[in-house]
């Protein structure tokens, strides 16, 4: 029987969720050509920023704008708050130019979380595509901190090229631990790549897990998630044991503004993590 886990407690940063709290950049680390990780610390001396795996913050680059970015670091508050993102627009471009000691505003944490409690005693299949590994990383940290609570943990990760692999050193270290099975594939191989080639969904049929018991966490581009969910279903993992993390244009992050409305739900408030059967009827619909 699986034991009950100590679930990271979500602590609202401020009484006013619309008010960004100033934080200081501790470190900016390039992950790949177009992705980077920010390590951030609070300015008021508060040492712990607690969040649940799967949640996101609103990051405000002063004078430029605010964007939602999922939290990619350790969820138990003992290490700096981390956000990994890709340079896709004006705000993330400005963010990449920040240096150690620069200030950034943070609101959060917001949104739903990966079902770490429900996952206890089960095989876990984590399917990540591209930057989609970032929101899953806190869940992986949590699993490894409570390794005895889970059965097999299988990470299936796909990227565009070998050069686009996020957290490469960490993945190699995790693979060496022998209690986490990691399979990486790339869409386009360069000559020095000796691993798998093909989309991440092809790994699902090969992966060693028990579908009758497994719970799946999926994050990546929506099209990838659609085919991943199909592949999982084909292997015998039903929609009610499959979780996806959705992405839309989030603004207020508390379900007021309606920018991220997704059918009857708001991604910022009811998501971004959804149990798949709860959004299955609207998932992939052009009108939604």
């Amino acid at each position: 029987m699986a034991q009950t886990l100590e679930q990271p407690v979500t602590t609202g940063l401020t009484p006013n969720p619309m008010l960004p709290e100033p934080h200081r950049i501790q470190r900016l680390r390039s992950e790949t050509d177009d992705t980077f990780t920010l390590e951030i610390e609070p300015t008021d001396g508060r040492g712990r920023f607690l969040f649940a795996p799967g949640q996101f913050n609103m990051l405000y680059v002063f004078g430029v704008g605010e964007v939602p970015i999922s939290i990619s670091g350790y969820p138990h508050g003992t290490k700096p708050l981390q956000h990994t993102t890709r340079v896709v627009g004006a705000v993330t471009r400005a963010m990449r130019r920040l240096k150690r000691g620069d200030m950034i505003g943070i609101r959060g944490p917001f949104g739903s979380q990966w079902p770490m409690e429900e996952a206890t005693g089960r095989d876990l299949v984590i399917v990540a595509g591209g930057i989609g590994l970032a929101p899953l990383r806190p869940a992986l940290y949590h699993m490894m901190a409570h390794r005895e609570s889970y059965r097999r943990i299988v990470l299936l990760y796909g990227t565009r090229t070998p050069e686009d692999i996020l957290y490469r050193r960490e993945l190699e270290r995790w693979r060496g631990k022998f209690d986490l099975e990691i399979y990486v594939t790339v869409d386009r191989a360069s000559s020095g790549w000796h691993g798998s080639v093909g989309v991440v969904t092809t790994l699902i049929s090969r992966a060693p897990f028990d579908p009758s018991n497994a719970l799946a966490l999926v994050c990546g581009p929506e099209v990838m998630m659609r085919y991943a969910v199909m592949g999982l279903h084909k292997r015998g993992v039903p929609p009610e044991r499959t979780y996806v993390s959705m992405e839309r244009n989030m603004k207020c992050a508390i379900g007021f503004c309606g920018h991220c409305q997704y059918g009857p739900a708001f991604i910022c408030k009811d998501g971004p993590v959804f149990r798949f059967d709860r959004i299955e009827s609207i998932f992939g619909k052009e009108e939604i």
Partner: protein, 154 residues
Amino acid sequence: MIHNLEPIIREQPFFQGLEERHIKLVTGCAKNVRFEAGQVIFREGEEADKFYLIREGLVAVEVLVPERGSTAVQTVCEGEMLGWSWLFPPYRWRFQARTRQATRALAFDGKCLRAKCEGDHDLGYELLKRFSRVVTDRLEATRVQLMDLYGTNS
């Protein structure tokens, strides 16, 4: 020792559900093969006279690109099938296959199998269903791959 291969062939996911009489027929066309890491299994343009079920290892399906050399477009691993050009004229490989790791496989003689399928259309239908499934899955994967999912504009 052809008969020794029967239990191995029966266990292959590709042949799951195949009738015993058909297992015996395909076993008659099969042999065990091994390849070293980096070995070319077949080359583009050569006669396609076999298909393989990978028992262990990893094989890259490659295209020869001028000035870039061999470029892997897909990999095939344990439990998966490699090669369908033996099924259709002109029976020539369209791609190259090269091992990425030391690989063990079952090799099936294409001419032998085609003759048995002509003699037993039930076997032919069963094999075609299995090959069609693999071809469909790989077509779907290729379409997703073509979308460049992780590009900046995705």
